[in-house]
């Protein structure tokens, strides 16, 4: 009997399903965040001058350099392509006053990238938002330089210093919304930040749960404390923190329920620090604190699978037998 002529079998690729993947990559997600940061960056340059642009670029570049150096020293593959270091650098720059010396900014990005991120294992492994830690370290190390706020539209080295609207409490809502007040680079222009937030939401990058919970809580608690809630929402770093830092994937809870708890927690801590402590601003500390609580929030907000039956609870005896 003649057998069917077995065709010379070429080697076919064999892999587990699924065989198609979406276009979205980590680098694209980070790219969207950079696009969303762009309006606020433009606003900061308009308000504070070219030095703002220099500071943003400096922070982005040093972040990438620290990241690459860590890769080389730790013998890890090059991870600068995922753009997460650039995002960290830009967000950190947004948290700095425009007058900050460059060498201090470099320390900030070092703390953010090397100490907070790479030492803990790189992308996805950091316990806290790198930019927040960088800012807090700078704030505690160089309190004078970190609170050297200048008047908007003074584009000189010896610019006139001013107070942030949180301290002076004399800015109008319009001024706060457009950002013509003293403050950190990226936090002043609420309009630009909102634009970025809407972009991120529209591109399905962030969930609005945490930012809305954060903003809502700040407003509500402020009113309850007898302050102007809307003013508290617009002034200071709440908008920047809520839109770009309380939505950081890595350091915030993963479920919607968890995100809401996170946002509410941030709002309460922010208000407590603002109204009761000696610091005028509490956004960074509140986010850092909630970052640290995130694993616990995650633990208590596990999703319930659809159709899942409650598992058999182990009695004490069974557990002891296992030991």
């Amino acid at each position: 009997m003649e057998v069917i002529n077995p065709m010379k079998n070429k080697n076919l690729l064999v892999s587990p399903s699924p065989h198609i993947r979406s276009d979205r990559t980590t680098a694209k997600v980070m790219g969207h965040v950079l696009i969303a940061l762009f309006p606020a960056a433009v606003a900061s340059v308009v308000i504070f001058g070219v030095r703002a642009l220099a500071l943003i670029l400096f922070c982005a570049v040093t972040s990438v350099i620290w990241e690459r150096l860590c890769n080389l020293i730790m013998k890890r593959p090059n991870s600068t392509g995922d753009l997460s270091a650039v995002v960290t650098g830009v967000i950190l720059a947004f948290n700095l006053p425009v007058t900050l010396p460059f060498w201090m900014a470099a320390i900030g990005t070092f703390v953010a990238i090397v100490i907070t991120k790479q030492i803990f294992g790189g992308l996805g492994q950091n316990f806290a938002n790198p930019a927040i830690v960088g800012r807090i370290v700078l704030m505690l190390s160089f309190p004078a330089a970190m609170s050297n706020w200048v008047e908007p539209f003074y584009n000189k080295v010896d610019a006139v210093t001013t107070a942030t609207p949180l301290v002076s409490s004399n800015a109008s809502y319009e001024e706060l919304f457009l950002g013509v007040t003293g403050g950190c680079l990226g936090e002043v222009c609420v309009a630009a930040l909102l634009l970025g937030g809407i972009y991120l939401f529209a591109m399905n990058v962030i969930s609005p749960a945490a930012p809305l919970a954060f903003m809502g809580t700040v407003t509500a608690v402020s009113y309850l404390a007898g302050e102007d809630g809307f003013y508290q929402l617009l002034a200071g770093g709440v908008m920047l923190g809520a839109i770009f830092m309380a939505t950081d994937y890595v350091t915030t809870p993963i479920t919607t329920k968890g995100k809401i708890i996170f946002g509410v927690g941030c709002g309460i801590v922010t208000c407590v620090i603002r109204f009761l402590c000696s610091f005028p601003e509490g956004v960074s500390f509140s986010i850092l604190l909630m970052n640290i609580l995130t694993p616990y929030i995650d633990m208590f907000t596990l999703k319930k699978p659809i159709g899942g039956l409650p598992g058999e609870k182990k009695t004490k005896e069974v557990k002891e037998n296992e030991k």
Partner: protein, 434 residues
Amino acid sequence: MRLNGILLPHKKRTEYSQTKILSLPERVKICMSQHMGAPCVPLVKKGDLVKVGQKIGDSEAFMSCPVHSSVSGEVVDVSEMLLANGKTCKAVEIQCDGQQTMWEGIKPPHINDKKSLVDAVRESGCCGLGGAGFPTHIKLNYDENKVNIDSLVINAAECEPYITSDFREMMENPEDVIEGIKTIRDLLKIENVYIGIEDNKPKAIEKMKELTENDGYIKVVKLKSSYPQGAEKVIAYSATGRIIKEGSLPSDHGIIVMNVSTIAFINRYIKTGMPLISRRVTVDGDAVGRPCNVNVLIGTSLKELLEFALVDFDIMEKLISGGPMMGMCMYDMNAPLSKTNNAFLAFKAKSASKLPLLYKGQTNCIRCGKCIDACPLGLMPTELEKAYDRRDREMLNKLKINLCMNCGSCSYVCPAKRSLAEKNQLAKGFALSK
């Protein structure tokens, strides 16, 4: 509430392709394990003469269904063969005589009650044609004293990209679908029938609505085109609103779910008595010169089917049996067609290199939670991956790894390009092991 799902490119390029018939092959190789459950034992030996529709394999086991010859000719070999999933089973090779003589025993079955229906469906060799291959008679043979079946859900979602074989069934044989539904409904005394069709097939929806106008108990349900709408649990929920709980079957919740091609086949079997010896297959993919739907005899070598569809073998790097989301990679182009193959997709090197095997661009998990938003059953794939990586059996069970149906949605959406679905399968095996 709607179950989560993901949006996929549909790529239903073959939806207007009238089903073509593949010419008679010289030889067929009929595998004894084409369904879910126990493989059949060959009833023929080398040298036997068989005819079209003759039973050549059967099993005593509860979970099994017989296998029939798709050609007439001489049995030239009964041998072990390696299946795509790595298991082995017996296969009967038949040299065709070219006559396609019908077996004498073929006559329409006599059906007047549930028992005779179940027996007839078993004899037809029918198993779920959507891909899982669950023996159909077992679905129908529920215990009336224990469960009260009030809903029949016809699965015509066809949610995987490329595949159009169920759609073509509805366009070409709509009467078979409706008559099959009515027969089964009347014999089993089921009150409600739902035909679930995704809204990317408006023509099928229209056709089914037209044919069921006068029957108030058959509802055509327009489903959102979101993958995996056609998964049994998902379509059962979308149609009836009932959640099929962990460890239970649709029948425990009063539902029978059947694929639309399966029900049309059952109707043809009741009319003609010809068992399951051929089926419609979609051939598509970017290495295919002529994407089409083909009616192919069971046991035909894939190579003949691929040649018919003008597949360029030089550029083909990956051959998938089934859809791109849940299909299985084939490593052998000479494998025979089985009852459950609804599509074959051949892809070029370029698209194959984008495929997950090479892990291009994989990064650490960034905890974006997209996999959690994608999972239709509300599982947490990223947490499952971490639990598996630390071999935490307790956590895996707590997160209900056993519910994962390997739909692949989590892997699809992951921006870090992690192979979550693959890990879930490993984790499932691990959680079950002691």
